[in-house]
């Protein structure tokens, strides 16, 4: 039996494949990705979340991720 795909796997894959291009023009902005496509860049997490809900609604998963390199590592001691 095929295992369930990781949530947002397609969106994360798109993010990682486009990240270097986006770093040139959208560094530190928040990219919104849903239904396999980038849906915009926003200056805050809140704005990207709001736009995601407006565009995709309650039932469609969407990714909100800050364009950063390297990826930050959050530490929990």
């Amino acid at each position: 039996m095929k295992g369930a795909e990781k949530p947002l796997a397609a969106e994360l894959s798109i993010y990682h494949s486009h990240k270097h291009a986006w770093l040139a023009s959208h560094k530190e902005e928040f990219v919104l990705l849903g239904e396999g496509d980038p849906a915009g860049f926003y200056t805050s997490y809140d704005d990207a979340l709001r736009a995601g809900l407006k565009r995709f609604g309650l039932n469609v998963p969407f990714l909100v991720k800050q364009v950063l390199d390297p990826e930050p590592v959050m530490v929990i001691y």
Partner: protein
């Protein structure tokens, strides 16, 4: 200014650390949209949290995420207990009922296990950046000033 006193017992504070009750819920915009569309979400979940100056981001257990039905928005790398892990990120709202502290809505939190602990949340420095926290181990008093 809001001033909250959390503990008054020195031994208890030493043993358990500074704890606070927190309600984890869907973020406000999501709840508003759900109400418009007559979609029901689970009620906010009241849990016990440890105020953790060693946590750079607020964390809840996967059980809390499942119970609340939070929306995953991404994933991130955390360094915990000597190893790196990729954990899911969720959009949520956090409030502190009865304390008069401002809510965090929306807030980006992560999920991770807290095995064999009587807490379901670590309040991290993403929240602490809005508070002045005073920990007095001599008297057992913890104060939050907002």
């Amino acid at each position: 200014m809001v001033l909250v006193q959390l503990h008054r017992n020195r031994g208890e504070l030493r043993k358990t650390g500074p704890k606070i009750q927190v309600v984890v819920d869907h973020f406000g915009l999501e709840k508003q949209l759900a109400e418009k569309q007559k979609t029901e979400f689970p009620a906010g979940l009241r849990i016990t949290a440890l105020i953790d100056t060693g946590a750079s981001i607020t964390l809840v257990t996967p059980e809390v995420v499942r119970t609340c039905g939070l929306r995953q928005t991404s994933e991130m790398i955390i360094s915990v207990a000597g190893r790196l892990a990729v954990v899911p990120e969720y959009a949520a709202a956090l409030s502190f009922p009865g304390f008069g502290l401002a809510s965090f809505d929306p807030i980006n939190i992560v999920a991770g296990s807290l095995p064999k602990q009587d807490i379901a949340c670590l309040i991290g420095r993403d929240i602490l950046q809005r508070w002045r926290l005073t920990y007095d181990g001599r008297t057992g008093e913890v104060e939050i000033e907002e």
